[in-house]
């Protein structure tokens, strides 16, 4: 104890100060580390989910000017001439599946309306529908990658058969 103020109840020795500090630090660290560990435990490291990359059949099976809905993948395949694109059918608002209409697309949940380029015409959707990258696999199938978004004017162009 410091001899100069022997009767001060708030007086604290150097050893006492370090004990208190270390104790509080250790306690705080233990609580934060436990909480962080528990939250990290809840974040899965391995997902058993369908692949984001899928084959969408032969290009020639799509009629020219057609828009084809693939149920299991929740996408629309769009063919215009010899160009191929893939449009997400998942509404950007809250994830419902949009329906195709004459002028574009319409979400049944909260009424968002999109044009045929996926742009928002009206409703609560914050963004247009996503366009996914389309490539051609080695065995001549359309290959869609739902993890890669592209601009609406990005096409897969295939040479027209003569």
């Amino acid at each position: 104890m410091n001899p100069s103020t022997p009767n001060d109840p708030n007086d604290i020795s150097r050893r006492g100060f370090f004990k208190l500090t270390l104790g509080w630090l250790a306690g705080t660290f233990a609580i934060i580390a436990s909480a962080a560990g528990a939250v990290r435990f809840l974040v899965p490291n391995v997902l058993f989910e369908p692949s984001q990359i899928f084959k969408a059949g032969k290009p020639e099976d799509l009629a020219d000017g057609s828009v084809t809905f693939l149920e299991d993948e929740r996408v629309f395949l769009v063919r215009q001439g010899n160009t191929y694109r893939c449009l997400s059918a998942i509404c950007t608002h809250l994830g419902c599946t949009v329906n195709r209409t004459e002028k574009g697309y319409h979400c049944p949940c909260h009424g968002s309306v999109f044009d045929d380029q996926g742009n928002v015409k009206s409703g609560p959707a914050p963004r247009g529908l996503a366009w996914f990258q389309v490539t051609l696999s080695k065995d001549n199938r359309l290959l869609v990658d739902k993890s890669r978004m592209v601009a609406a004017d990005k096409y897969l162009v295939l040479p027209t058969k003569v």
């Binding site: 899965p44 989910e49 149920e71 929740r74 809250l94 419902c96 329906n99 049944p108 009424g111 609560p124």
Partner: protein, 428 residues
Amino acid sequence: MNAPLLKRLWQTFARSRVGRSIFRVGLPESNLERSQAMTSSFLLHIQPAKVHKHSLKAGYSLGLGLISLYLFFILIGTGVLLMFYYVPSTDRAYNEMKDLQFVVSAGLLIRNMHRWAAHLMVLFVMLHLCRVFYTGAYKHPREFNWVMGVGLFLLTLGLSFTGYLLPWDQLAFWAITVGTNIAGYAPIIGPKVKYLLLGGNVVGQEALTRFYALHVIVLPTLALIMVAVHLWRVRKDGGLSRPDESGDVIEQIPLGQLPTNKSYGLMELARGTTPQVGKNPEDEVFSWPHLVFREILLFLLVAAVVLFLAIFWNAPLEEYANPIYPPNPAKAPWYFLGLQELVSYSAFWGGVVIPGLLVTALVLLPYLDRARAGVGRWFARERVVANSIFTICLLAAIVFTIIGTYFRGPSWSWVEPWQQPPAITEGR
């Protein structure tokens, strides 16, 4: 003694060696025993031995908190029974619902009771919140208990939401989809919270497992603990709010004029914010039987209403979850339809900002509104401003809910309820 036979039999048992070992006190016959009946029983000692007459007035509290608690008990009872059959699997959950409906003895009744008690609990927790507001009961010294109450209100909504996901029907699947997407709109942590809730990127088995764990153990345990704290605080904050409780008893009754023929003394008078303040012994009655009997009666009434509803109206079950096509229109239960109507304008503003602000306002309310006047009376004149603001918010919530319920048709389009809804021309 000319007591009825049943009472005499009970008294004989209660005063026997075995009876005394269990109950300590038989049917109370003196005031001392009436106190002991409360304090010597584990279940009854949660409540005070004596209770203020004002707290027993049905027209003041309307018993709304107690009704909510009873509904919670019914939900625990029926919920535990349902757990003996339910399997949180996307393949089996829906079939278990069908089994409960058509195969299991009393399965339909118990599921119906669980469903009706859940809807009633949301309703009565909301009404209880309104009652506490309109009587100014959240004011000092009950600020923190109001905050606990807001927490319990949110837990009730969380329990309802996680509950209606479990049947894995169309409502369940699309409610998880929409609900977790709303969570995803929260700033910064939104996408991470969504990932954590779903246990992945898609709505599937992992999401069902997580919502199941939340529904049957995490949220009910939290709710039970908070209910315990809520009730404990009611006692510690001086029982139910009542008018003019701030008066200093010692000043009201000059010491020399204390009646001498009473069994109480100065120890029953206290000042400050302790629970005893304002409890003039003359204003109190013994909890046994005045409070206990009212409580038992109210429980019977609540149980009867739930049973009546469960017998005559079945809990709905939509089609098996179809991850491709949402139902059209896809509507949440009534208590979320106001929110759904808001979300249909903007997911961020209607789903995150406005609910977030409302909850923040509710939590901060007792610390912002520090005026002391008007506690313990319905619609007190001194509280006209606060009551008006609250009423406007309440009316807005009701209007949005009514619009969402009756004025929204396929694709969330505007429909007047007295008109034939337009035919669904798109989708399935």
